[in-house]
Symmetry: C2
Subunit: 340 residues, 2 copies
């Protein structure tokens, strides 16, 4: 049985209300009393009881806002499922979770949406957005007002966010290289299809991939590195043209979206011995892995990202004394047809 506020109050010879005030750093407390209560609570090892807190919390209306650029991007469906799972669990405690949907990665669109959220008075936010100075600044303003922000799927380090919940992009790239090195011992001539050269995660996957190839002593050369903006038509054309121009290509590293386009080009040109290295588990990728055209895909637990993101906000509010939250790096998961 843990120690309660009541016991601390008794030990300090004050009322429970006073202890509560001290523990929440509210004003209007005698500094000496505050000091003593703090010492006692430390000494007695006080840990607030969740059940009690949560029941009492029902009186306020707590709302979390989760913003992400999911429109037109099926990857985020799973993240949203995670948000919703957390929302269902937190409903009991009177907490509401709103999801704000954006399309694409235009900085101004994101800034506008974040400002709107700030005005809406959320008690905490999960944000999947761009890591650029203007947005860092925007988030910083929010966090300085004491509103916890969790960066989900893409980190925004210099923004005051309480933690990052998402994948390790470098590890993901490295794992793709590790798998390639297991599958083939030959020299690799590689086409890299990135989503955007301005998205950090994409660059990190490429970096990790190259690191991995070197660590595994895979002889390789990069034939070309192109941007397809997660678009299948673009990636189809780019793949087709590059393959025609470079018959020596042995593998295609598709950093983000555009796998189906690349896959189509490979099939059409009947270059089936080419390894397509893919990420995530979108329906088309799933299908290609199942039918054997793609050997494996590297996944990142998107559902968990949504779930944990919201839960980190909740824990932050529940344990306000601590004011620290650890990053949560999801597992880098290799999926082949058999374990999907």
């Amino acid at each position: 049985m843990s120690v309660t506020i009541k016991e601390i109050a008794a030990a300090a010879g004050v009322s429970r209300g006073t202890v509560d005030r001290v523990l929440h750093n509210r004003k209007d407390v005698n500094p000496e009393v505050a000091q003593q209560v703090r010492e006692l609570s430390d000494k007695m090892g006080y840990i607030p009881n969740r059940a009690g807190k949560m029941l009492a919390a029902r009186k306020q209306q707590i709302r979390f806002g989760c913003m992400l650029p999911d429109i037109g991007n099926p990857f985020f469906d799973k993240v949203i499922e995670g948000f919703k799972r957390a929302a269902a669990e937190l409903k009991d405690y009177g907490i509401k979770v709103d999801i704000i949907h954006l399309r694409g990665f235009n900085a101004q669109t994101h800034i506008d949406a974040i400002r709107k959220m700030a005005a809406a008075g959320y008690s905490g936010m999960c944000l999947t957005t761009l890591d650029v100075p203007e947005i860092q600044q925007e988030i910083y303003t929010i966090t300085q007002n004491g509103i916890p922000v969790v960066s989900v799927n893409t980190d925004i380090p210099d923004s005051g966010r309480i933690c990052y919940v998402g994948t390790d992009y470098i590890k993901a790239g490295r794992t793709a290289a590790g798998m390639l090195s297991l599958i083939s011992k030959n020299e690799q001539k590689i086409l890299i299809i990135s989503g955007s050269f301005h998205i950090r995660g994409h660059n990190e996957r490429i970096k990790g991939f190259r690191m991995g190839l070197e660590e595994h002593n895979v002889p390789y050369s990069i034939v070309n590195t192109v941007e397809a903006f997660d678009d299948n038509d673009d990636s189809y054309k780019l793949t087709r043209n590059t393959l025609l121009e470079h018959p020596e290509i042995t593998s295609i590293f598709v950093v983000a979206g555009g796998v189906p386009g690349a896959y189509r080009a490979v099939k059409e040109l009947d270059r089936r011995s080419i390894y397509i290295l893919a990420f995530d588990e979108l329906p088309e990728i799933r299908h290609a892995v199942k039918e054997g055209g793609i050997g494996f895909t590297i996944c990142q637990e998107p559902e968990m990202q949504g779930y944990v993101g919201v839960m980190r906000l909740f824990s932050w509010l529940m344990e306000e004394g601590k004011k620290n939250a650890n990053d949560y790096i999801t597992q880098t998961i290799i999926k082949i047809a058999d374990n999907m």
Copy 2:
């Protein structure tokens, strides 16, 4: 805001105590009143509030017992970590979790331990034990008394357990085959080293492996299938002898313990082109994967098994109205050096 007992009581024109009695199917309630309350609670969509329940639960002393044959078997260390993580979370609600440690898989030892636990009056149990009739019967007696039992890591289907939390052994075996088929297109001559022919999970891994090989059209033959009882000396000797006798062997499928022994034999005989197919992430396996002697290992989220096992008991008690719990099948995770 969900509907509460108070609201149902008001709607039915009875007291909260009566509603509570109905919802818990306690005796001494007028059947007509009970009927009406039940209808109302359905109609109004009553879902008990966790925070309230948990706070009230502190009055009783709830204890869970978790039994597993971990002594001398490092695999279970992670499962225990999961039990402990759940225990830490549940401590707030006044719930205690005991761990009962056994050595090995002797049926009588397990029966004795289970009987002792039944006598100890636990409110719920997690059991990792043998799936044999005597034990099924033993568990059945407990579950018939209304005590929820979760089978962890190994299922005991005909025992009245509320659910199974653990891996899909067939899928694990199949995934090993899938990986092998990715890595090599050659015909495979395979030595299978099982832990015990009497442990269902081991047999299922072998079954899944063979299914996978066939599905992937891998030409193969099983050179020999032996029992090593998870012992490294045994597996070393068996591997060494078999390899000397059968120089054609291309891969060794180690179903459970004994990987380090087999690995040592392979290294000593300098047969490094042999693929060793391993499961789980014990320190020695980790090490072998890191140094490249073993390409990958198929894992099963043991920590999650312990955690979810206990949490299923908790949910069962918290939502006694429902009385149903889903199995939780952990992911089949492929680990290579890069994503460990």
